[in-house]
Each structure stands twice: as C-alpha cells, then as structure tokens.
Symmetry: D2
Subunit: 346 residues, 4 copies
Amino acid sequence: MSTLKVAIAGATGYAGEELIRILLQHPSIQLTHLAASAKWDRPVALADVFPRFAGQLDLSVESLDPARLASSCDVAFLALPHGVSMDVVPILLKAGRRIVDLGSDFRLRDSAAYAQWYGKPHTHPELLAEAVYGIPELSKEAIARARLVANPGCYATSIILALAPLLRAKLVEREWMVVDAKSGLTGAGRKAEPSMMFSEMNENLWPYKVNHHQHTPEVEQALAPFAGAGGVSLCFVPHVVPMNRGILSTMYLRLAKTATWDDVHATYRDFYREAPFVRLRPQNQWPKIHDVAGTNYCDLAWTVDQAKRGLIVTAAIDNLLKGAAGQAVQNLNVMAGWPETTGLCA
Amino acid sequence: MSTLKVAIAGATGYAGEELIRILLQHPSIQLTHLAASAKWDRPVALADVFPRFAGQLDLSVESLDPARLASSCDVAFLALPHGVSMDVVPILLKAGRRIVDLGSDFRLRDSAAYAQWYGKPHTHPELLAEAVYGIPELSKEAIARARLVANPGCYATSIILALAPLLRAKLVEREWMVVDAKSGLTGAGRKAEPSMMFSEMNENLWPYKVNHHQHTPEVEQALAPFAGAGGVSLCFVPHVVPMNRGILSTMYLRLAKTATWDDVHATYRDFYREAPFVRLRPQNQWPKIHDVAGTNYCDLAWTVDQAKRGLIVTAAIDNLLKGAAGQAVQNLNVMAGWPETTGLCA
Amino acid sequence: MSTLKVAIAGATGYAGEELIRILLQHPSIQLTHLAASAKWDRPVALADVFPRFAGQLDLSVESLDPARLASSCDVAFLALPHGVSMDVVPILLKAGRRIVDLGSDFRLRDSAAYAQWYGKPHTHPELLAEAVYGIPELSKEAIARARLVANPGCYATSIILALAPLLRAKLVEREWMVVDAKSGLTGAGRKAEPSMMFSEMNENLWPYKVNHHQHTPEVEQALAPFAGAGGVSLCFVPHVVPMNRGILSTMYLRLAKTATWDDVHATYRDFYREAPFVRLRPQNQWPKIHDVAGTNYCDLAWTVDQAKRGLIVTAAIDNLLKGAAGQAVQNLNVMAGWPETTGLCA
Amino acid sequence: MSTLKVAIAGATGYAGEELIRILLQHPSIQLTHLAASAKWDRPVALADVFPRFAGQLDLSVESLDPARLASSCDVAFLALPHGVSMDVVPILLKAGRRIVDLGSDFRLRDSAAYAQWYGKPHTHPELLAEAVYGIPELSKEAIARARLVANPGCYATSIILALAPLLRAKLVEREWMVVDAKSGLTGAGRKAEPSMMFSEMNENLWPYKVNHHQHTPEVEQALAPFAGAGGVSLCFVPHVVPMNRGILSTMYLRLAKTATWDDVHATYRDFYREAPFVRLRPQNQWPKIHDVAGTNYCDLAWTVDQAKRGLIVTAAIDNLLKGAAGQAVQNLNVMAGWPETTGLCA
C-alpha cells in the first residue's frame, strides 16, 4: 500500500482527537496537517491541545485555511461545526482532493430539508447529489469511487445498520418505528455548555430533541431505498446518559409477517455476510457499551414477541468510532482500496 | 398527631437505609426496631452497617425474628428479599400490626401469576385479595383502611402514574404500549454481583430482562381497571445506566383519538388535582433525574405527534423514594390519617 | 422560637440551591427573597432555575439589588462570586441586618492578604476586623453575637476541624503540614468551564492550584491562635475527582511528642465534647464520602506511626453542607440562639 | 522480527483483558493459549468471557494447567491471584519458558517480607534472587537477559519512576517520603466485593490500607539502590476514586539541598533520556488521568517551594497499562530484543 497524506480540519474536537489516535497507528497514512475552526493568532502545538499526544506527533494545529488545507494533503477529514464544511468542500474538490466530511453538511440530498433541519440555506446544493452517504456496509462501491463522502451521524449509524436489513426483507412495518437511543456525552461535542457540566450531568439523565432530532431525516433518507415506496416513518427520542462514550439504540418494531429469532438472524447474517464490523449476538445475550467501546463494531441483538407481533432490536456502537472517526477511517480505507479494517484493529 | 412505633425489617438494604433517613425526620414516628434477613450471631450497631447514621440513632440491627418484630411496633415496613415477607406478614397480621411491604410478595392478586413470575408458589395466597396495591394517587381510600399495603415496584410506579389517566380518558390505544425505562443502580439492590461492580457498570449501559421484567404483570394488573375490558398489553424494556438513583421511563403510545398537548394536560391535571407528589412539566420542558432525585415527586412531560398519531410521555422519579421508601411513608401517612406529605418535604 | 425572615443572594448556584433546600425544612425560617448576581430583565420563577423546587416554593429570583435585599429580611445569606459581597455587606449592616457571607470577601482579616490572594483590593477593609470566621465548633460565642459571619471555605473547614485540636494540644509539628485534599465538582461552582464538562472530567482526576490555593491563608489564620507564636505552615494540594459532592482531606503530620491512637482520640474527644457535627471514627475505620454526603457532619479518623513519628488524619465532609450551606445554617442557628442542629437533621 | 508464541494465564481479569487487547495488535506475537485460575468444567469461548473480542480471536479460555501452559508457548504472561504463580513458575522455567509475572509472588527478594505482607510462606524462595523486578527504565539490561520478570505493582511503578532519579541525585530527604495515591477501580481487580459495587463506589471516595499497603516494601526495595545506605522510608496512603482507570500519585518531599524547578527537570531529563514512556510536563502544567489513559506513558510534573524546602511531584499512569499489561509487554519487548515500544503505540 502506498502512503496517503492526510489532513484533519476540526482536529481539536472529540472526533478529531479520535482520528489522530487512529491515524497514528494506521500503516498507510501520513498525517500532514491539522486545522481548527477557531481563530488563533498562531499555531498551537498539538500537545498543548491534547497532552496525551505529547511525544507522539510533532504537528501544530493551525486556524483553518481552506487553500492551505487543500495543498497539504491527498485526502481531508473534515470534523467541523455544522455549516462550515459546505464552503470548504468546493475548494478541496477543485484542488482534486478527496474528502470524508464527518459533519452534517452533505448528508441530506434535499437542500430544502437541510435548510429546515439546520436552520440555514445550503451554499452549495449542487454538490449534494454527488456526496455519498458513507456507510460502507450499505454502499461500498459508491464510496470506493467517491470524491466526497458524507460520514453519517452517530445515532443514524446505529439505527440504519439495525433497520436496513429488516426493511429490505419486508419483515417489519414501516410506520411508527420507535427508536429510543441513549448516548454518552462526547456525542454532544467538546464545548462548554452549562447543562453539560460534570455536576449537572453526573447522576442525571434526560431526553432531548424529543421526536425532533436532526438525525431523523438522514435515517429516513438512508432507509428509503430499502423500504420501498412510501419510505419509513420514525419516532426517534435520544437521551443523554452520564458516560463518556457509546450509543445504545433500542428499537420497537411491529412484525409485518410471522418471524422467529432465527428468521431475523438469517436476515441479518445474509445482509452482513461480508461486513467485518457488524456482529450478531447470540440469542438472549444483549450488547453492553463495554463490548463495543474503543472498537469500530456495531453489535446487534433482538428478541421476537410472537403474540404481540413485536420485534425489539438493540444496536450498540462507540459513538466516536463506528459513530464518527472509526467509520470515517473505514470509509477512507474503502476509498483507497485498502482492506476495510486497516488500522481499525479487527 | 400521636406517635406510632415503627419497625423496619430489611433495614440493611438501600430501601431500608432511605426509610431510616426519612423516618428520623418524621414528626410522628418512633423507630423502635430494625431487623435484617441475614443470619447474624448478634445484633450489629446501625452505625456499623451505615456509618452515616452514627450519632443519629442508637439502635442495633437484629436478625429477623417475626415474633419479636410483631411485639416491637404498631406498623412494620418490610423491605425483604422476594419470598421472605409472605411468611412474616401472617404473623404480623395475627398480632394486629399494620404493614407496608416494599417487596413483591403481595403485589399480584393472582397466585398463579406470582408463581410464574417469581419462580416459587405463594405460601399465603389467601392474603392476596386483602392486600392493597399502594399507589396513594390511585387508591387513597383503600390504603387508609388497609391492614396490608403492597408497595409497588419502582418501575411500576413511574409507568402506572403516567398511563392510568390516559387510559381512563380513552386517549391511547391499549395494545403494544412501549415503555423504555432507564434506571440507576440502587434499583438492583445492595448485593455483590459481578456485573454490578463499579468497573463493570461505569461507562456502561445495557438492557436486561427485555420484554420480560417481573414488574410487567403488576403494571398490567394496576392499569386494568382504567383500561376496561381486555386490559392493556405492555412492551417493557428496562435498562441500567451508570448512576446511583433515579428512573426515567419513556413511553411510546398511539393516540386512540385526536388530542393536543393541552388535552393531555387537562387529563393529567384533572386526575392529579389532589395529588401533591405528581407534577406536570410545562410544555417543551423535559424532566431530568436531578429534578426528582432526593424527592418523592413524579414528574410527567409529554409531546403529541398529530401526524403520526403518536403520544410520547416521560415519567421521572427517584427509584428509592417515590419508587420505594418515599411512597412507603406516603402510604403510612395515608394509613395513619396524617397529611400525605408528612415527613416527605413537600 | 420566633420566625426569622431570610433572604438569599446568590440563589442560583449550588450553595444557594442547598440553602433553599435546607431552609424549606427549617421550622423557624421564612424565605422571603431570592436574588442572583446575574443581570436579568425580569424575575425568573425559582422552578425555572431549579425544577426540583416546583410546587415547593413560590418565589421568583430577582437580580441583586442591595437595598431591596436589605428591606426584605432579618438575616441575609450571601453566596455571591468573589468580590461582590464586599459592597453589599455595608448596605445590609447599615440597615441593621445580620449576615452570613458564604463567599471569601470577609474571611481574611488582613486586607493586604486579601488583595494578594484574590487579585483586587478590598473596598471595605474597615469591616474585616468585625467579621467573625464562622466555625461554630471553634467560635460559638463570637458567632452568637456577630452581625457579620464569614462562612469558611469548604477545604478550610475540613482542615481546620482536623488540625486545631492537635495544635492546641501541641501534639504535632507546625511546619510542613501536608494536606492532600480531594473534592467533588460542585466545589468548583455552577459555571460552564471547558475543563469541567462531563466528558472532560469523567474518568479523570487532577491536582490544581498546587501549593497555591486561596484557602491556604484562611486556614493558617484560623489555626494561628491554636498554634502559638510562629503559626503554622501548610503544604496544601487540592485535587478534583469525578463526583458531585464531598471533600476528603488526608493530612500527613509529624508528631511533636510521643502519642498513641488513644491519645489523639482523647484530644479530639475533649475538644469536640459539645460539638454535635464532629464525629470520631472507631480505630481502623476510615471515613467515606457516603458517610457524610447529605449531612452536616465532619468525620475524623487517624492512625499513628510511632516508628516514623507520623500521624495521618483524614477529614470527610459534604462540601455543600458542612463545607458551605449546612455550616451557614449552623451559624444562623447560633446567631439566633436556636439549637445548633435545628433544621440540620442531627 | 520472528514471531513468539505467547500464553496468558489469568486471561479473565482486567490485566488479562488488556494483554489480549495489546497483543492482538502486536506485530510479532501469536497468542496461542489462554487460561484462568477458575475451575471450569470445560473451556469457555473468549467471546463469552469478553464479548468485545468476538470476531477478533478464536481461542477458548481453559482452566489453568501448568504443564499444558508450558507446552503451549515460548513466553507466558501470568496475571494470577497472589500465591498462585509461585507454584506455576518453576514448571514453566523447567520447560525452558520465559515468564512475565504480573502478580506479586516474585517481586520481593526477601521471603520473610513476602510472608509478612502476603500472609503465607513462599513455596519457592530459591527463585526470588533470580527474578528481575521489571521496570525497563531502571533495569533494561537485566530484563533483557531474564528468564523471570516480576512485573511491578501499579502504585509502585508510579512512585518508583518519580522518586528514583531524585534519590540518585540526592535531591530529597529519604525519610517520611509522603505518597498520597488515587486509583481507579480496575486496580482492585475483577471480583465481586460489596464495597466495590457501583452504587457503593459511585459518588464516593476513601483511603484504604493506610500506611500499610503491600506495595510499600517493593517500592522501598526498588529504591534502595538509588538511596544508598539506610534506604528510604515511605508513608504511603492509597485512595480509591470513582473512575475505572488511572493512578495519580502525589508525592510530598523535602529537599536535601537547594534546587529549582529547572534543576529537577535536568535530573529527570538526564535519567530518562532514553526512556520513551516517561514524559516530563512543562512547568505549571499538571498531568490529568486523561493524558495517560489508554497509553503506556508515565507523566511527571513537579513544583518546588524554596521557602519551605518542599518538592511536590505528581506521577500519572494508566494502572492497567504502564501499571500492569503495558509494562508487561514493554518487558517482553526488551526480553525479545525488539524495540521497547513495539505494539505499544508510541
């Protein structure tokens, strides 16, 4: 494998930190540039931002300059606040760079939906059709060819991986698909908000954006091809729980036809036959966050309630890995033609 | 108010600890006896079990002796492991004592259901009809007259308080009522299990007893009178989250008729007009565990999705207070004819 | 006991929250006014600041107006940011109010030391001599007569209670008295700082203000009368640990003369003979935060290393109670001539 | 580098889990055998013990059989309960295997000290002289030649790395060297003890084995060569804090001669010139657990109090990595003649 030069814009957030950690061990990557969206007078040593990297990588973090970013790398990871990357991406594309965007700017194909959910118009709607929504388990070939991959949201990844196979198999009803998700706090990003202080969050728990979270439309969009005409209708309620990492999504579905645990198992098994990062748990063994924390796996488990026509599915991921930086590197591996698991320890 | 002599059997668990804490401040109670189900050679000073009570209560904890328990008190709180109180209660009743049983032995009216869910036959099924399921908001008059009150389970309390008014008003469908509950760890009791060690539970989260928890039948039994013929059918999945206290139950319901947020508000408001411990949150303000931790309140909030005929309700309680010891004292207050809030700080 | 009208300035912080919680249950207090140092356009309902108080207290929180504060109460608790109360206190005193100031403005008697440690000159140095440093176990009579009580810092309380008796008995050397303290996060106050976010603090731990914390001079000042000429010299290093509440201070002392565990016990016992909130632990039983959390106790334990002339003492308190709001109410009780424990559950 | 066959005895504990995790990524290791000290009827799939390894390593864990262990590997890691490895090591040595023992059986050279601190006689005292105490920063050459390396305790590693250079430079007094250490809970091992339950430990903190911890003699033994005649005298108090991983040791020392921050820096810098895993922090920057968690680094920081002749040093490590499994692999790398950092991401 030849080596690619990689830059990270948004290197000072949690996803950026994880990207650096992973890429330091990736055999075919050279980290060449780190940038942050903050306006700084001068570059800051990475070790001053993240002392954990002292002695490991002698790079500074610079304020984001799209031209400089474009000239520094073959591939750029963007982990920027909403609304920032849509103006950076065109510059990178023009320079011939390939991009994995961990933000939300290029996830929705419909610019009107973007404006509605993110509260501002999209400045480059002409690029939305080109962007590939980057779940390698669903779209490996498109990702391999993509110039621009839109890395999915953390909640979205856990939900889509659980539901796509069931929908394609027409096993479940597509209305009122209830998703109750629980997330660790790094999911909220690395910024000081009063409600996210330790003493506010510790020994606490709450729902938020109830039935109104911005990952809903990207899930519905991603599932539409599997659901057929009419698509799906989600009821999605995320909750924050006092832990740093991890998402557990519990999904409450109605069976569209009779099915057993084994039927569901066969459906998933066939769908994920070549997916190294999706694991199916043995019957009656439910996933814990510990089982996936620090890994790029998505663990699926389920139970069937024949009498009530119910199917309960849980999906567990590490929100910063399979939900963000890990999946981003998995996408890069696919784009570069490397084994999907390179640098991802599996 | 005259003073009642009160004993606690099961004083060394978390519910027992909370009962002691509350009753130390209750103006009309004298704690006269503490017992534990453990077999000890000799009594142990309370301060050796719970150093927090050093200097506050000079009682020893003795191994449980039903006769001695009966002779020590006017009213007994039982916070014993499943299957223990059913043999203690008859002795207390014969001695003329009144009882609040925090365990599960007298919650189900059907002895066959008891045997099925708790894995052993009930030794005194003849008492099941007499026991009053103790949610004062629903059964104040029966509790006032009761000799034996079966204090509800922690999850059950949060679910019943949320659903009973909606069912009575025929606002919601009674099938596939989805309840996704999240609980702190004291809910699992004070015993050393490998999976409940700090380093196993911290930074972790998991579902358990999926669609199979033993609180399901007591909820269905308690809701039946409100639901009418056919009763209700629950899909209940509890999760443990890394915090000590608190339960948040998120309920996913389908509307049986058109209704707005205000309609639901009116339904709850009317139902709980005289209930000091149920609070309705303003629209768009969701309850957090912090809002109820250390209190006997149950906070309710909800949202309506007209387009999808959906109603999402959340209920938050402190599992050791409104979910156990607080509700037990509330029941005692009702039994004694005292104001419901006595000693409960509200 | 007649009832006193009490106001709280600084009602929106953690100490303010605890004051409200305690005073709601205090039999001789009427809460008449709540103020915050924030500039608000209009008063905010207490339940909007702290939903836990919904239904319990129907007061609004207003922006701080010293004149209005003075006219609203007999006694004022001030829990304001450093440097704010020194301009409020003179107005309250002039109006004839008594004050318990939980902040640091009136703790140091020396205005030069104040300026050095707090980075600004004191605007009312003439009041420093009058303020009584409020540890009831040491200064009950002066507090009883005081117009202005300076409530000690949380670390300071734990250290002073442990060291004063040992110094008076000349048991320990007064140089290089090492204090390693560990505190929960509410000690840092209720403000959004990046390093205090949940995901920064959880699974983390660090020392700060090493040998340089602003509580050092108030401890040295408070201990001076017990130490005799030359006073004491502290080496104090605080650490933040990922929990909400509690301080454990571990002190490493050298014996000035031969002494046994029993000698130290006798020293403490005699000193705290009439102190209801200081508890001495049995030999070989070390205090845990759980033992004091939610209480106004300070638990002391120690061991003697005869061979090395060492004495190790630990002191545990709840930083928001004996370290702040609880001690403030204890001071009020002493000022009002009520039993020291009124409203403090002991 | 040729590949070594490696076995792990004690694969089901936290150190075992970390060893597996590291060795799965080590380029020159083949994991050939996993054993546990528990008596099992039949082997258990690794994925059933640690679901996180599902799909990564297809080995079973067997009950420990020393002969089978010896025949399975070139090098064995032993992470067994105290007192177990001393009977396994002779069998492995006789079979010509090399060993890294993460337990305490071969750390003390004096069998009487072993019996005193661990409460049982050593069954193979003749091997104590041969065992090399495995801190590569201090004894690289001896480790390279060793058949049997005794991997140090977690606390011990943090303390020795901080103190050895200061003692060799005669910078500090060797009496009453105060060490106040704070450890995460995985340090207590993976066993169900009541006091280590989540709800007992969360929001809690306490000292234990005060001035009496069994790591004290190994530290004193390891530091003796640096201290000269008379050795050192430690006052060591460990505390458990509510986090999973990490140790922070804060050391309170008296200067034996005048020294500045820079002098201490020069001392450490020279001592650790070729040590890739010891990092010196810039002045006034104190280490946090986050900086070392998940890494094999030991971060050192310090401050000098000239007036009081004081030197305060802090050392932070990940207790499971530099404090256990990471250091064990570092030792293996040295034994095998590989770069010290192989497989350890630095």
